[in-house]
C-alpha cells in the first residue's frame, strides 16, 4: 500500500514482512555471542558434517583428514595459496558489502549477480574502448564505469520499490535474468565481440585499464590484484557511511523501524533508492574487479555466482562491514583450498559448496546451533513483553 505525505510525495508503507523482521534480527544482533560465537560454531559444525559426507562416499578417516589438510594448504599453506584466497575473496567482499548495506536499510538485494554483470560489462567496455590513455586516467575511468553500471542496475529495483512498493526481491531476481541475457547478447554485438571470434567473448582490456597484480613483481603466478585494496577501501567507506554519517543513520533507522524513521522526518523513499544505488554500485565494482583484474575480458557467466555468494557472505558477516571481510576471506579460502583439494586429494570441489551451504543454514537458524552446543541464542529472547515497555 502506498501512503502520500502532505508534500505530495508518495511514500510506501513500511515493510514489516517476515523477511524484514528476519534480517532485522540478524543485523541487529551485535552482541559478541550472536556476532562471533554462532558463526564460529556454524563453521565448525559445517566442517564436521562435511567430513562425515566425505566418509560416507567411501573415504577412510585418513583420506578425509588428508582432504581437509589439502583444503587448508590450498588456502593458507603458502604465499601462493594466500594470494589465491585473497583473489577469490576480493569480489566476495564487494558483493557481500552490497548485500550488507541493503540489509541495513531493510532491503534484501538478491540482484548482486545482475549488478555485477552489468558493472563488469561497463568496466570492460571502457577498458577496451580507449587506447593510448595513461593508466592513471584509464584505470580509474574503468573502475568508476563498473561502479556506475552496477549502480544503474541497483537503481531500478530501488526506484520501483520506493515509488510503487514493488518488492525488491522479485525485481532484483528479474533484473538478474535481464542482465544475464543482455550480457549474452551484447557479447555478440560488434561493439563488444572480439574480432575474428564467433563465440560471445569481449575484446581484451587495454593494459592501461588492468588492475595491477600486487605481487606480480615477486611471483607472476600470484594473481592478487589492486582490486583487493579497492575492496578494503570500500569496506572502510561503507562502515564510515553507515555509522558516522547522517545518511547511514537514515539507512539504519529505516532498516530497523521505518515507522520511527518516517516520524523522524526521514524520507524512506530516498533511502530505498540511495541504498540500492550504492549496493548496486558495490556489486558493479566487484564485476569491474573481475574483468579488469582477473579475466581481462568478459564472457558469458563471468559472474560465476559471486553475486549470490555475497548473500551468504553478508549473512555470515552479520551485515557488519568488517564481518563481511572475515566471511569473504573464509569463503575465498574455501574456494581456493577446494581447488587444491580437488587436485591433490581426490575430493570434488563441490564439497566446498556443501560446506558453504551448511554454514549458511546454521547461521540463519541460530537455534539449531543453540540446541547442538547448548549456548543461548537471541532467538529465545525475542518474545519478551514488558507491558508498555515491550
Amino acid at each position: 500500500m502506498s501512503l502520500t505525505s502532505p508534500d505530495g510525495k508518495t511514500t510506501i508503507e513500511p515493510d514489516d514482512s517476515g523477511w524484514a523482521t528476519f534480517f532485522r534480527r540478524l543485523t541487529t544482533a551485535t552482541d559478541w555471542k550472536t556476532g562471533l560465537v554462532i558463526p564460529a560454531l556454524a563453521v565448525l559444525t559445517a566442517l564436521i558434517i562435511g567430513a562425515i559426507i566425505i566418509m560416507l562416499t567411501g573415504s577412510s578417516l585418513q583420506e578425509t583428514l588428508q582432504a581437509y589438510w589439502a583444503l587448508l594448504e590450498g588456502s593458507v599453506g603458502s604465499l601462493r595459496a594466500i594470494s589465491a584466497t585473497l583473489t577469490e575473496a576480493t569480489p566476495l567482499i564487494l558483493t557481500g558489502l552490497s548485500v550488507a548495506i541493503a540489509f541495513r536499510a531493510g532491503l534484501f538485494n538478491i540482484g548482486g549477480e545482475g549488478q555485477l554483470l552489468i558493472g563488469g560489462m561497463t568496466a570492460v567496455l571502457v577498458g577496451f574502448s580507449f587506447t593510448g590513455l595513461p593508466w592513471f586516467i584509464h584505470l580509474p575511468m574503468a573502475v568508476a564505469a563498473g561502479f556506475l553500471g552496477g549502480a544503474v542496475w541497483g537503481f531500478v529495483p530501488g526506484f520501483l520499490k520506493a515509488k510503487t512498493g514493488a518488492h525488491e526481491v522479485i525485481v532484483t531476481i528479474m533484473m538478474n535474468y535481464i542482465a544475464i541475457y543482455l550480457t549474452g547478447y551484447l557479447l555478440k554485438t560488434a561493439l563488444f565481440q572480439r574480432e575474428g571470434r564467433n563465440d560471445p567473448i569481449s575484446k581484451n582490456v587495454e593494459e592501461s585499464a588492468q588492475l595491477p597484480k600486487l605481487l606480480g613483481w615477486f611471483d607472476s603466478a600470484m594473481r592478487v590484484h589492486l582490486g583487493l585494496i579497492i575492496a578494503l577501501i570500500a569496506v572502510v567507506l561503507v562502515w564510515w557511511l553507515l555509522f558516522r554519517t547522517t545518511t547511514g543513520f537514515e539507512f539504519r533507522a529505516v532498516g530497523a523501524n521505518s515507522h520511527a524513521a518516517r516520524y523522524a522526518g526521514m524520507s524512506v523513499t530516498k533511502v530505498y533508492i540511495l541504498v540500492m544505488v550504492i549496493a548496486g554500485g558495490l556489486a558493479g565494482l566487484a564485476g569491474g574487479g573481475q574483468v579488469l583484474g582477473v579475466l581481462d575480458r568478459a564472457s558469458p557467466g563471468f559472474s560465476a555466482g559471486l553475486g549470490f555468494d555475497g548473500i551468504s557472505v553478508a549473512l555470515l558477516g552479520r551485515s557488519n562491514p568488517f564481518g563481511v571481510v572475515a566471511a569473504a576471506l573464509l569463503f575465498g579460502g574455501l574456494t581456493a583450498g577446494g581447488q587444491n583439494m580437488q587436485a591433490t586429494a581426490n575430493v570434488g570441489i563441490d564439497l566446498v559448496s556443501v560446506i558453504q551451504a551448511l554454514i549458511i543454514i546454521f547461521v540463519a537458524a541460530p537455534a539449531l546451533i543453540g540446541a547442538i552446543y547448548r549456548v543461548k541464542t537471541d532467538a529465545s529472547s525475542t518474545q519478551i513483553s514488558q507491558g508498555w515497555s515491550s
Binding site: D7, W388, S390
Partner: protein, 501 residues
C-alpha cells in the same frame, strides 16, 4: 493456587533489576504490583512466566518449588501472562487466535474446528467475556482484543493470571468492564497479579498492594486504608504532588491554526471533520476524547505524517499544509508521539542515537553529512541526567529501557528543542507518578516560557491537570471547547461519550 516468590534476584548488565524479591499472591485475591519506572515489575513477571531465568530465588506454587526452563513450563504450571502488547494475528478469527499452538485435532492431525469453537465459546460464556469466536481480530477494539488474550490463557489452564499494565490503552468504559472480568475471575478462585501506574485503580480492585523500588520490595499497603498520596510516597520515597501547581495562562499570539481540516481515509470515510481551532503562545490546549475518535489523525495531520484532504494548517503565519514532516520539524514543531515503541524510538538504537532520532541532521549534531559523535554523546549525557532516564547509560539500547524510562527519553528529546510548538500525544502513558510530576512540570514550564502546547490525552485527570483550554473530540469532530477553569469532569465526560450536543 497460592503463589510465592522467594528471594528472586535478576541481574542485567549494570542493573540489578530484581533484588531479593519475596511476595505472596493468594487464590481468589488480586495483588497489585506498583512501583516506579524501572523498579523491576515487568522483569519479575517475566521471571514468573519463564521468559527470564532468575539468578537466585524460588518460585513456589501451592508449596511446590517450580523450575521453569521456558514459558511452556510456566504455562503448564498454571501461569498465564496477559501481555500489554497483544500477540494476536489480526487476520485470524478470535477462535483461531485462541487455539493457535494448541489446536485440537481429529485423527490424522486435522484441525477440529467445531471442537475449537466450542471450547472458546464455553470459556467466553463461563467467565462472562461475551466474545464472538468468529469475528476477525482486526475488526474488534482493543478492549475486546484483551479479552481474547484472557481467553487464551484461561484455555491453557491458567490459574494464576498476570496483567502487565492492562488498562494503559483502555477507554474508561473498557476499564470498568475489565474490572468486572477481574471480579469474575477472582470469584472463581483465580490468583491475580495486576501491574499498574494508576494508583486509583490499584486501590479500587486490589486486595493487597506490594510496592517495588529499585528492584526491592519496599512495602505493602492495605487498599482499604491507603490513599493515593501514601502509595506515591512509598513508590518514590518522597512526597509527590499529584497535581502540578500552575498560574493563570497569559496567552499571546496564535502559533498554530487549523481551518476546516478534513481528512478522508482510502475509502472516503471522514476521519477528521472540519476541524478548526488555534493554539496560542503561552497556553496549553488539551484535547480530550476516548481513544479512536480522531486524535491520532489530528496529531499526524499537524505533524505532517498524514495528508489532509481539505482545509489549511498555519504555523506562525506560514501555510504549512503541504510541508513534509521534516519541513515542519525544521520550522519548529516538536512531537511526542502516541505510540512510543513503533514511532517514538528505535529499540535497537542506543539511547544516544534515540535522543537525536529526529534532529541528527541539524547543527550541532552533524556537520555536512558527518555526525558529530562527541556532541551527540555530550548532549545525551546531559539529557539523561536532566530528565532522570534510568539507568543513565547512553550506550545501552533504547529497547532495554523500562517502558516509562523510554517515554522519558522521548520527552527529553522533544522538550530539549527550543521551538514554538510542542505537540504531545499521551505524554505520560505508562509513566510512574514521580515522573508524571516531572513531565507535567516541564510542560507547564514550556508554557511559561511562552511556547504553545497541544496535549492529547485520554486521561481526564491529565487533561484537567494541565490544560488552560479543553477541546473535546468525538467521532472526528471537535464537539466542545471549554475553559478549563470553568469545565467539570462530568461535563467533559458527557461530551467525550458524544452524549451532549
Amino acid at each position: 493456587m497460592e503463589l510465592q516468590l522467594k528471594g528472586i534476584t535478576k541481574q542485567f548488565p549494570g542493573v540489578l533489576a530484581n533484588d531479593d524479591v519475596t511476595l505472596t499472591a493468594r487464590s481468589g485475591k488480586v495483588l497489585a504490583l506498583i512501583g516506579e519506572n524501572g523498579a523491576g515489575k515487568s522483569t519479575l513477571m517475566n521471571v514468573l512466566s519463564g521468559l527470564y531465568h532468575p539468578d537466585a530465588g524460588e518460585i513456589i506454587i501451592d508449596g511446590q518449588v517450580q523450575k521453569f526452563d521456558d514459558p511452556g513450563d510456566a504455562i503448564k504450571a498454571g501461569i498465564g501472562m496477559v501481555h500489554q502488547h497483544f500477540m494476536l494475528v489480526p487476520v485470524f478469527s478470535v477462535w483461531e487466535n485462541v487455539v493457535l499452538g494448541i489446536e485440537p485435532t481429529r485423527a490424522g492431525g486435522v484441525l477440529s474446528r467445531k471442537e475449537a469453537r466450542r471450547e472458546v465459546k464455553e470459556i467466553s460464556e463461563r467467565f462472562g467475556l461475551a466474545v464472538d469466536p468468529d469475528v476477525l481480530v482486526e475488526d474488534i477494539p482493543v478492549g475486546i482484543q484483551q479479552r481474547v488474550e484472557i481467553i487464551k490463557v484461561l484455555l491453557r489452564g491458567a490459574k494464576i493470571l498476570v496483567f502487565d499494565e492492562p488498562t494503559a490503552v483502555l477507554t474508561p468504559q473498557e476499564v470498568e468492564e475489565f474490572f468486572g472480568i477481574v471480579a469474575e475471575l477472582k470469584g472463581r478462585g483465580a490468583t491475580i497479579i495486576f501491574i499498574t501506574h494508576k494508583l486509583k485503580e490499584a486501590l479500587a480492585i486490589a486486595d493487597d498492594i506490594t510496592v517495588l523500588r529499585g528492584g526491592k520490595v519496599v512495602g505493602h499497603a492495605d487498599p482499604a486504608t491507603a490513599t493515593p498520596e501514601d502509595l506515591a510516597a512509598m513508590m518514590v520515597g518522597r512526597d509527590i504532588e499529584l497535581v502540578v501547581e500552575k498560574s493563570e495562562a497569559e496567552p499571546g499570539a496564535g502559533v498554530l491554526e487549523l481551518a476546516d481540516v478534513t481528512m478522508l481515509d482510502d475509502y472516503g470515510r471522514a476521519l477528521l471533520k472540519d476541524i478548526s481551532f488555534s493554539v496560542r503562545a503561552g497556553e496549553i490546549v488539551g484535547v480530550a476524547g476516548i481513544q479512536g475518535n480522531g486524535q491520532t489523525e489530528l496529531v499526524e495531520a499537524i505533524t505532517g505524517l498524514l495528508p489532509i484532504s481539505r482545509g489549511r494548517i498555519t504555523f506562525e503565519g506560514k501555510d504549512i499544509t503541504r510541508y513534509s514532516p521534516r519541513d515542519r520539524h525544521t520550522a519548529g514543531i516538536a512531537h511526542v508521539p502516541e505510540d512510543r515503541n513503533h514511532m517514538g524510538m528505535i529499540g535497537s538504537f542506543s539511547v544516544a542515537e534515540n535522543l537525536v532520532l529526529d534532529s541528527y541532521y541539524a547543527q550541532p549534531f552533524s556537520r555536512g553529512i558527518r555526525l558529530q559523535g562527541d556532541v551527540i554523546r555530550d548532549s545525551a549525557e546531559a539529557l539523561v541526567e536532566q530528565f532522570d532516564v534510568r539507568p543513565p547509560i547512553i550506550s545501552n539500547t533504547g529497547g532495554a529501557l523500562s517502558g516509562g524510562n523510554a517515554q522519558k527519553m522521548i520527552v527529553a528529546r522533544e522538550f530539549s528543542r527550543d521551538v514554538p510548538l510542542v505537540v504531545c500525544a499521551q505524554p505520560t502513558r505508562g509513566i510512574d507518578v514521580g515522573s508524571i510530576e516531572y513531565i507535567h512540570e516541564q510542560i507547564v514550564k514550556k508554557r511559561d516560557e511562552g511556547k504553545a502546547i497541544l496535549i492529547v490525552s485520554t486521561e481526564l485527570d491529565e487533561i484537567f491537570a494541565l490544560s488552560d483550554r479543553i477541546l473535546v473530540m468525538y467521532d472526528g469532530r471537535i464537539v466542545a471547547e471549554l475553559k478549563a477553569s470553568e469545565a467539570t469532569p462530568t461535563e467533559v465526560g458527557l461530551y467525550m461519550a458524544g452524549r451532549a450536543a
